[in-house]
């Protein structure tokens, strides 16, 4: 019988290398999968993982898709470190997009450099407000934030839909459920001419730097880690669990909200019911892929963005099922978690009788 035995001190090098192995295993499993589907496996893997890296346009797209993933992932990782499981970033993303977008729509005849920062601020507040609900329920009634934050995702999506069908609908939009298109002061400046790469990516890089400083050098980051690893030790030190729960949920909510505003004010340019496409959930994978470490999340976010772009390209070029992207993202998380188990413990073959 196989048994898992915890290792005394897991190897640091292995902890860094697991995502690399997980990607390799995902590619191998992908090869097998495509062979079974009767498609050219090597071409498919090439299209998904490598071809996007050879084209400027695709590289720019990488930053467009990566921006929300990195922003949300950085916030979620903070909470995951503390044992605060915010699963509802998708909802906070929508709430942020709604708040930021509402500011844009309210000011649609104005212009000025101050509008964009105001939208971002509103987006962060919107995301925070949405995340404040699970924070309150957890700290006041000990309600599980996994459930409450997840349920609020659907509330947010329906709210967005209701608002773009009603008050926020474009009066000149022929009754389509869409808001007005944002004007120039309300859309993010483009970084590289001819692509969609926008300054939101700079914000994401900034967020990563701040997150690193916060988690590795600031007392609050330290408190978060202690709370997550040894709650009793956090109590011994005198860290307030409630404060940490609020801090984590509000911060991850703010970053998800910011990502929502950036998405609306960047590649989309208006509020539409189809704005949320799962970044909030994919960012959970990003957070774990990046070892909950800010720099890891930067790489993880770009990698997941790659699977979006490459997956789409492969779907079109080889007429693959539309589930391809999701399947790859799922396999990646699966292999990653499995590798983690092996880094933390070793497998021992023990004769069946010995298991007491």
């Amino acid at each position: 019988m196989l048994r898992l035995e915890p290792r005394r001190e897991p190897s640091k090098a292995m902890q860094v290398l697991t995502p690399v192995f997980a990607v390799a295993l995902t590619i191998i499993a992908g090869l097998v999968l495509f062979t079974i589907l009767g498609k050219d496996p090597f071409r498919a893997i090439w299209l998904i993982f490598f071809e996007p890296l050879t084209q400027t346009y695709a590289l720019a797209e990488l930053t467009v898709k990566g921006t929300p993933l990195i922003l949300i992932g950085a916030g979620l990782a903070m909470g995951f470190r503390a044992g605060v499981w915010n699963i509802g970033a998708e909802g906070q993303f929508v709430a942020g997009a709604l708040a930021g977008g509402s500011v844009a729509l309210a000011l649609h005849e104005t212009a000025g450099l101050w509008i964009m920062p105001l939208m971002c601020l509103a987006g962060m507040l919107g995301g925070m407000a949405w995340a404040a609900v699970p924070a309150f329920l957890r700290t006041r009634f000990n309600a599980n934030e996994i459930l409450t934050s997840l349920m609020l995702v659907y509330v947010a999506i329906l709210l967005l839909s209701a608002l773009v069908h009603g008050p926020l609908r474009d009066p000149e939009g022929l009754n389509f459920p869409e808001s007005r298109l944002f004007s120039e002061s309300m859309t993010l400046p483009i970084l590289i001419e001819g692509t969609r790469a926008h300054v939101g990516f700079i914000l994401a890089l900034l967020a990563i730097a701040v997150a690193w400083l916060f988690m590795e050098r600031h007392l609050l980051g330290f408190q978060i880690k202690v709370q997550g690893q040894a709650p009793l030790a956090a109590r011994f030190a005198g860290y307030s669990e409630k404060r940490i729960v609020w801090l984590c949920l509000l911060t991850s909510g703010a970053l998800a909200g910011l990502a929502g505003t950036i998405e609306a004010a960047g590649p989309v340019g208006q509020l539409v019911p189809a704005l949320p496409i799962g970044y909030g959930f994919t960012a959970i994978i990003v957070a774990f892929l990046g070892r909950l470490h800010p720099f890891g999340i930067l790489l993880g976010g770009l990698l997941m963005a790659l699977t979006y772009i490459g997956g789409e390209a492969a779907q079109i070029a080889m007429s693959l099922p539309s589930a391809t992207t999701r399947v790859f993202q799922g396999m990646l998380l699966f292999f990653l978690l499995a590798m983690d188990v092996l880094v933390g413990s070793r497998i021992r073959w023990a004769p069946r009788q010995a298991a007491g």
Binding site: R217, L219, V226, A230, P351
Partner: protein
Amino acid sequence: MPEPLLELDGIARAFPGVLANDDISFSVGKGEIHALLGENGAGKSTLVKIIYGVLRPDAGAMTLRGKPFAPHRPSEARAEGIGMIFQHFSLFEALTVAENIALGMAPELAKGDLRGRIVEVSTRYGLRLDPDLMVGDLSVGQRQRVEIVRCLLQDPQLIIMDEPTSVLTPQEVEVLFETLRRLAGEGCSILYISHKLEEIRALCDHATILRGGKVVATCTPAEETARSLAEMMLGESLSPPATDRRTPGEVRLRLDGLSMASETQFGTDLEDIALEVRSGEIVGIAGVAGNGQTLLMSALIGEVRAARPDAIRLDGRPIGRLPPHGRRKAGICFVPEERLGHAAVPDMSLTENVILSARMRKNLSRNSFLNLQRAARYAGDVVARFGVKTAGVDHAARSLSGGNLQKFVVGREIMQEPSVLVASQPTWGVDAGAAAFIQEALIQLAKDGTAVLVISQDLDELFAISDRIAVIANGRLSAADPVDTLTIEQIGLRMGGQARGRANAPGAAEPAHA
């Protein structure tokens, strides 16, 4: 030597990185009480797990009544007449005694008039037990009786007892010993695991002494002194801790009317605790586990706040409502009982672990940003001064052995030079060398003028280092009396709940009555 019941021949078992048992051979005679003596980590637990079928040996063989014996699982060992009383009980608090006993037995044995048999066995061996009581309402000593009766109902020929007295009052220990002697008289063998030397001298016929996984000596305990046994166990000669008394100074820590409801369902509430600890003295709090020590420690640390600020005073300043770091800043430091997970974060480095409790007093942060260089230097100082064996301060707390981690935790607090230090079970589960070192450090700290409060279940330790001892029983604290006016028996009576009223004139040491 009576005819052997169980014989071990060359038993060996390795775990990754350690050889827990190395060529162990000895035999237990029929009707013999055989001690297995050794420090923590000497390999006692591994060995009994092999005998009880929880683990299998890598090499070696056992014979039971002359026949080869190699149990694959505990049920096989039980079927061969081997019973085991673990140090930690496996009982359901919300079920009755009879239900608990039935649950732990083979189904065919639990049939019939189980209740009647429980009453019969418990009266025969002087282990009074009401089968209809809820286990949650029983004292720890009574819970142990449930385990013993469960074991006896299966007609064992060999009973393995793992540190059975660590949870008992001295009086309860006497009752247990009588039971064990009677069982041995009836021909039942007992393998008695302990590191308490006096007990082994009083009870056991033979002793096998383990050190570093090997048998280093066998002896007849009654012919040895506690000191010679300890030296065999440790492999080095011991010097007793210096016992010169210190002159207490002014009151540093003062508890007055500290009451608190337990956070858990079957926990013990604190009732009206009063105590004074003066500069330069060590006050011990004795008591059987589960009598409110955990909550008292939480209340002192500030993990749970007192109802009134002045229930706890530090140098006259009310601190009952302050959070832990506020109390540390005011000058009180703590060593909680649980090293891994409470006093230290297992997966964090020693550097990070000093930030946990020494940030305030050692200025390990500035404007809420951590000063990792300072923290690493302080961790290095602790490691150097307390002789902590580690490959470096950037290694995880988990990688240290129990004794080394405890030295680190104690050192981390002592080197903050607090005016009051509170330590719970400071030498619990550490090797004798580290224990002696820690006790010396506490004594030195008191000499330097700190008021030291030690909560411990180890009476020998308290008598060795304390100036005064109070007893906690059922959430109430007795007066703290000078050690030279107290006997083990008096402490034992108070541990059993027959404490005198609490000290009404704090600090006044009345002579104890016999």
